[in-house]
Symmetry: C2
DNA sequence: ATGAAAGCGCTAACAG
DNA sequence: CTGTTAGCGCTTTCAT
């Protein structure tokens, strides 16, 4: 699907969260005069030119076989002549439905969400549907605004990563007849379909991997438990420890960092290194955090993995490209979106909750010889 | 703008170009029964319930001051009662216009484009507009299909990263009255506005930086010149060399790699290292390529930058986080999108060509002591 | 301040 | 096979 050598941009990445917009980059402007705007040709213009009725033009458009070849050609010629593009609003008003779906994610510039969006788009494309994509920026008001806008535009349905735990407005939209699929959020509701990734399982798999390698003291550099993913992953780690016969109280140190980026990882790791009974392995809440961890470990001359094993989460593009390739938990982002769209397009409109399993990608940061 | 601690996904990245979709991730499905779908309430339902005419309801919606407070309240109550959401198609059909713009990029999962999209969205949002985003996958047919779809939906205008050098269909759409802004492509046309980044200048700045550091033999690991960005960047490198009094023939070795990713960078760098008169500095067409270069240099025990200076392009998130932080050329992606949207929203609909200047971000891969 | 009615562009009966 | 016509839901004169 994805084009291989996608121009010179094939490699880019996002700026770290909270990065400043680049300073003014001195645009060069080169203006020209304005152009005139004409009224668009309508179906009756075509009918007049082709000397037929509007009904016939409509038939040529929608059921060409019902029209005599000669007439059809005449109409087609008129269409080309006038450069006629049918008015979708009118059609939609008449038909009541539209082949468009909406998606509201937290941030379109976040690769997790755009990979999901890509999955949605690919599935929608198969069905001839278009996607309207928007970012809520975690602002419930923006989310509500876009939801409303999509609904007014008559979309078939909406896939949304909720910005708040409160799902009342989504339930209401659902009751109004709009299809709604929750993204990356297990639905507590019987009326809203949902598609999510099992964060507990991902963290548990990573933990089991470390236990299998013989580690018995772990650190987890995590974000606030008010973030669902962080809480779920912490639960997964604890569950795996218990399952392995270890007491989370003694075998685990959880460090909470304020921002889930490289700086947070570096600071968190320094705290881990300062511990008197130093753990032998670290789990990081995401790969950027792990990157900061690797930086801190290098600065402290702690070899990886022999002095400290490191596991990330997300399996981002650079994870396998680092000086020490990073073991990480990969999430089926594309499938997540694909399935969400699939649910939205289901003819029966049934409610369904789907949970995908993440996959541990093992690399040298846990199994190497460093 | 961008929320700081955007959930646990704040750090993710994209898979490398050409990466396979992850294998089946064993979704867990949990179904429930379907729900009934009711007809949406219309303005006349509201009118009936509120015991007023539809015109009055419309007035409450659009010019509340024209309606007596008592009547207005009655209507408002009815609206709430019926959970009425106005039909945008009907409104648009009547009004003829719509507050939506479209954007067609090559790939929504590519961070360069999503950063641009974010800039577009932010500008559009200021004006109360919505964005419809789509990927052409560099397929001209898909591009044409989306263009048409957007036009049918009556969008104000479309911002597009053209998939082909042929701009005829875009010119035609423009002639039909649709606003069109070219993204990341300097327009050869008087009728189409455009917003682009100066690739020659970016490559030239990187080259001048290296020359200023005393390097006199450079390698450029680049992609095919059939990709506009690659050709432009090569021209920029050559121009800067000439300007510095060096003969590109002797001072520059250009290596062409098939895929602009880490593997390409690694292979290309091996070729550079095998040269008999080895360059002292390398330019890479993007950061992922530079990552591969760093990997190859490490494998060959060549210190960076003392044995080989390295410059990337794009300034992706991890560029500053590597073992050797990477000097790179940052592009004003967000501004690019912001300005494109700005052009689209201009009331005068004038044609304008804007070129943004990239910015060299200097780090240790060129100035360090390694 | 409110109501009545025309019509935006199109589709889908229904006639012929 | 083609024409006629009635709306889809809404906004907007124009009356009252």
């Amino acid at each position: 699907m994805r084009a291989p050598g996608a121009g010179a941009h094939g490699s880019a990445d996002v700026p770290p969260p909270g990065a400043e917009r680049p300073a003014e980059h001195l645009p060069t402007t080169e203006g020209t005069m304005a152009t005139t705007t004409r009224r668009r040709a309508s179906i009756s213009d075509v009918a007049r030119l082709a000397q037929v009725s509007v009904g016939t033009v409509s038939n040529v458009l929608n059921r060409p076989d019902r029209v005599a070849p000669a007439t059809r050609d005449r109409v087609l010629t008129a269409i080309t002549e006038l450069d006629f593009v049918p008015n979708g609003s009118a059609r939609q008003l008449r038909a009541g439905t539209i082949t468009t779906a909406g998606a509201i994610v937290l941030d379109v510039a976040n690769p997790f969400f755009t990979d999901v969006a890509r999955g949605i788009e690919d599935r929608l494309d198969e069905a001839g549907y278009t996607l309207m994509l928007a970012s809520s920026d975690e602002d419930p008001e923006r989310e509500a605004r876009y939801l409303r806008l999509f609904e007014e535009h008559g979309v078939q349905g909406v896939m949304v990563v909720p910005a708040t735990p409160d799902l009342a407005h989504l339930e209401a939209a659902r009751a109004r007849g709009l299809r709604v699929v929750l993204l990356d959020r297990p639905s507590p509701s019987d009326t809203l379909s949902s598609v999510a990734v099992d964060d507990r399982a991902g963290a548990a798999a990573a933990t089991r991997h470390l236990l299998g390698l013989g580690h018995e003291r772990l650190a987890f550099v995590n974000g606030s438990h008010s973030i669902r993913q962080c809480a779920d992953r912490a639960a997964g780690v604890r569950a795996a420890l218990a399952e392995g016969g270890l007491d989370p109280q003694t075998a685990l140190v959880e460090i909470t960092i304020p921002s889930l980026n490289a700086d947070g990882g570096q600071t968190g790791t320094q705290q881990v290194l300062a511990l008197n009974e130093r753990p032998t392995a670290m789990l990081c809440v995401n790969d950027l955090t792990a990157l900061g961890a690797l930086r801190a470990l290098r600065a402290a001359d702690v070899p990886v993995p022999s002095g400290m094993a490191v596991v990330g989460y997300d399996d981002v593009a650079f994870a396998g490209e680092l000086a020490t390739p990073l073991t990480s938990v990969r999430q089926p982002t594309h499938q997540l979106g694909h399935h969400a769209a699939d649910l939205l397009l289901r003819p029966d409109d049934a409610v369904e909750h789907v949970t995908f399993q993440p996959e541990l990608v093992i690399r040298e940061s846990t199994t190497g010889t460093g």
